[in-house]
């Protein structure tokens, strides 16, 4: 490998400095040109509107005056806001934890099954993720409905009373997390299944020779090999789950008494329904600094590990 590079360098040196320079220039220009559509798309359609959204968050309610961080200062005095922060954190962290756990376990079981049969299991287990969430959440709403709940019907047949799935604060939080886990676990499953399949068999066999049982194989072989993919999926899911809007909106709309509100639904209530767009923007942006820092650390770790490998 080293010889090839040296040979290439020699070849270029012999043909003169100008072509070496032009080659170097060509590489970075090609790189830039290839990345240009990405830069343009993100710049125009995400970065610019985001900056405008941040600007909106610094205006007063009637959007006539600049108040800087005054909206945030106001938000921090509201008891409901801190309740929303707590609820969003519990929702996102527990949902992502269960999604990752279930996705990991299911991927393992599917991997264990002989390859011929895997196809139908994969297909069946992928279904929740494939149905548009706007519509599958409606199905869950119908399943939890106070008057018509199919689950309550079964419970009543068994003699247990009906459960107020969406009416009691604790059941409502459970319901929202359940639907999110149901929807998101298949995504983790396919990502982890792909990663599992790319772990070389020799490592497992070597571990078996050393007398490792299944738990040790998992801990010392599987998990380290999958560290990157686990980090990326968890990070991505955390970001997306913190921003989740559809599930809470359709199932409980934040109720009862605001006890299932998350950032996105609370921002919508304040911004659009109560006509205070700057305040809504503040709520939406609250997690941004925290998640951005987490993302940067995790991604840097992945990059470093990738460079070392």
């Amino acid at each position: 490998m080293v010889d090839a590079v040296a040979v290439r360098r020699q070849v270029h040196r012999s043909t003169g400095r100008t072509s070496a320079k032009s080659f170097a220039r060509r590489k970075s220009t090609i790189a830039l040109v290839m990345a240009l559509p990405l830069i343009l798309c993100i710049g125009l359609l995400v970065v610019y509107p985001s900056l405008y959204a941040v600007y909106l968050a610094t205006l007063n309610k009637s959007m006539e005056r600049f108040v800087g961080l005054g909206n945030f200062a106001f938000l921090f005095t509201r008891e409901t806001f801190w309740m929303v922060v707590r609820q969003s954190a519990i929702f996102a962290v527990s949902a992502v934890f269960f999604k990752a756990l279930i996705g990991f376990c299911v991927a393992h079981f599917v991997h264990n099954v002989p390859t011929k049969g895997q196809r139908k299991w994969r297909g069946m287990l992928l279904v929740p993720w494939v149905i548009p969430p706007a519509m599958s959440t409606l199905a869950w709403l119908w399943l939890f409905d106070p008057s018509y709940s199919a689950f309550n019907w079964i419970l009543q047949q068994m003699g247990i009373g009906a459960v107020p799935w969406l009416g009691d604060p604790y059941w409502a939080r459970f319901a929202v997390i359940l639907v999110n886990v149901w929807f998101g676990a298949p995504f983790f499953m396919i990502m982890y299944l792909a990663a599992l399949k790319s772990v070389p068999e020799q490592l497992y066999e070597a571990a078996a020779i050393d007398g490792a049982n299944w738990w040790q194989k998992l801990w010392f072989v599987t998990l380290p090999m999958m560290r990157n993919i686990i980090a990326i999926t968890v990070l991505f899911s955390l970001i997306v789950t913190f921003a989740n809007f559809d599930i809470v909106r359709v199932l409980t709309n934040g109720g009862p008494v605001d006890q299932t509100h998350v950032f996105a639904t609370w921002a919508f209530k304040l911004g659009i329904e109560s006509n205070d767009i700057p305040l809504g923007a503040c709520v939406s942006l609250f997690m941004f600094p925290i998640l951005a820092v987490a993302a940067i650390f995790i991604l840097r770790g992945i990059n470093r590990r990738g460079n070392e490998a």
């Binding site: 309610k61 106001f74 008057s147 969406l166 009416g167 009691d168 008494v257």
Partner: protein, 448 residues
């Protein structure tokens, strides 16, 4: 940029024309193409949209306007999204439908409609107080009351269950086609309501009164509060939640809630409909959409449904009302045509056709337009909607009025009154604690 083919004069002409076009695009387009773009509320009654389209097209043909109609649903709050986005972008439809609070919220972006409303009021009669409260800001009308979507949310109850368990004949108290029975209506108070709720609960058919955060829940609680004179914020903007009236109404609510189904705290706008249509409940507070669906899906229940006014409280009989408005943006291209359209749509003959198409669901805001035959004719049971439009001593009201609209809107959207009731019942808090919580919320709403 001129090409070499233009001679000097043509270059000047085109550049002048170009700059005029840039400076005053709306004037040119309105004169040149006579276009109008309209966003109406998407009516749930099948066929109602078609009638409105037909009527609007007739007007457009008459005035030779190139018309574009969109029907915007309130599902997912799309109509609110549209209003917010168009207000920010200063671009969109010329005429748009605004639910309840949102015309007042966009006061500074809407074209004053005084010149349209004065003649309409002279012609059709006064509007109810709530329409003026919501539609007029700083002395100027911001929109014209729209017929499609404007509704009232009084009780809709089961005649048979009331006869059997409450010993009250609803059809006698509020007969179809005749004045209400004064003796009986005087006894139809919130206290009588509480007794009826208890009786129906014990009989296994509880009242289905939502205590969630959607409009159905906020509306009936609002009229309950008004009936007891409990104001959260008064007309001048002072926080008056800590009052005897509030304590009185919260005590009442505490006695009422045990007779309601346990999960009312999560009910949305459709839950009470389903409760009634499934035959589980004796009464809900809802416009006739529940009865209309029951007609299709559960005719035995539909035959026994009767719509009538709310109970009376110490301070009067308050009926929750939700007017819609049609407003014209300040940035609209063709304001003259827009105003002409809105005047046309408020003419008696047109309003009658719209109400007919909605099956009597829509209630015009002008007092002179409440005497259409449709309400007496709808059935079965015949006359079920006769007492739907307010006729007697009902005061049509919206929760949180008469507070200044920016504050009231937040009280409404965030369901402060309903949450107070939820806190003292499901939350187990004391009345004083709930009032203190409400006071701190209201302080936050005072933000400017």
């Amino acid at each position: 940029m001129p090409s070499n083919n233009f001679n000097r004069r043509r270059f000047l002409a085109t550049s002048v024309a170009g700059s005029v076009a840039v400076a005053a695009p709306y004037v040119l387009t309105s004169c040149a193409t006579r276009k109008l773009s309209v966003g109406f509320w998407d009516h749930w009654v099948p066929g109602a949209n078609d009638v409105l389209t037909k009527l609007t097209n007739e007007w457009a043909a008459q005035e030779k306007i190139d018309l574009k109609i969109d029907y915007i649903t309130s599902q997912g709050n799309k109509i609110l999204l549209t209003i917010a986005a168009e207000a920010q972008a200063k671009s969109g439809h010329d005429v748009l439908a605004f639910p309840t609070w949102y015309a007042a919220a966009q006061a500074k972006n809407l074209e004053p409609m005084d010149d349209v409303m004065q003649p309409l009021i002279a012609q059709n009669g006064d509007v109810v107080a709530v329409t003026e409260y919501l539609g007029k800001q700083d002395g100027h009308w911001l929109g014209v009351p729209a017929t499609p979507g404007s509704q009232v949310k009084g009780p809709c109850a089961r005649i048979d269950l009331f006869k059997q368990h409450v010993e009250l004949d609803l059809t006698k108290m509020y007969p179809p086609g005749a004045p209400a029975d004064k003796a009986m209506t005087d006894h139809w108070t919130w206290d009588a309501f509480l007794v009826a709720a208890e009786k129906c609960f014990k009989a296994g058919y509880p009242f289905g009164l939502g205590l969630g955060e959607t409009t159905d829940s906020v509306d009936w609680v609002g009229s309950l509060f008004a009936a007891y004179g409990a104001q959260l914020v008064d007309a001048k903007g002072n926080i008056t939640v800590n009052s005897d009236a509030t304590k009185q109404v919260l005590e009442y609510a505490k006695r009422l809630v045990p007779f309601l189904p346990p999960d009312v705290f999560a009910w949305d706008d459709a839950s009470n409909n389903k409760w009634l249509i499934a035959g589980k409940g004796a009464l809900i507070m809802n416009p006739p959409s529940a009865w209309a669906v029951a007609k299709r899906d559960n005719p035995q229940v539909a035959e026994q449904l009767w719509t009538f006014p709310s109970p009376k409280g110490p301070k009067g009989r308050y009926e929750p009302g939700l007017p819609y408005f049609w407003g014209v943006w300040k940035f609209a291209n063709n304001k003259a045509a827009a105003k002409s359209l809105l005047t046309y749509l408020s003419q008696r003959s047109v309003v009658e056709q719209l109400v007919q198409a909605s099956g009597g669901y829509d209630i015009p805001s002008f007092s002179g337009l409440r005497d259409f035959k449709i309400w007496a004719e709808q059935g079965p049971p015949k006359g079920t909607l006769y007492n739907y439009p307010p006729r007697n001593d009902e005061i049509v009201w919206i929760a949180a009025s008469p507070a200044p609209t920016p504050i009231a809107m937040q009280i409404y959207a965030q369901a402060t009154s309903t949450k107070m009731i939820a806190k003292i019942t499901q939350g187990g808090e004391s009345i004083d604690k709930a009032i203190a919580w409400a006071a701190s919320e209201l302080e936050g709403f005072m933000r400017v």
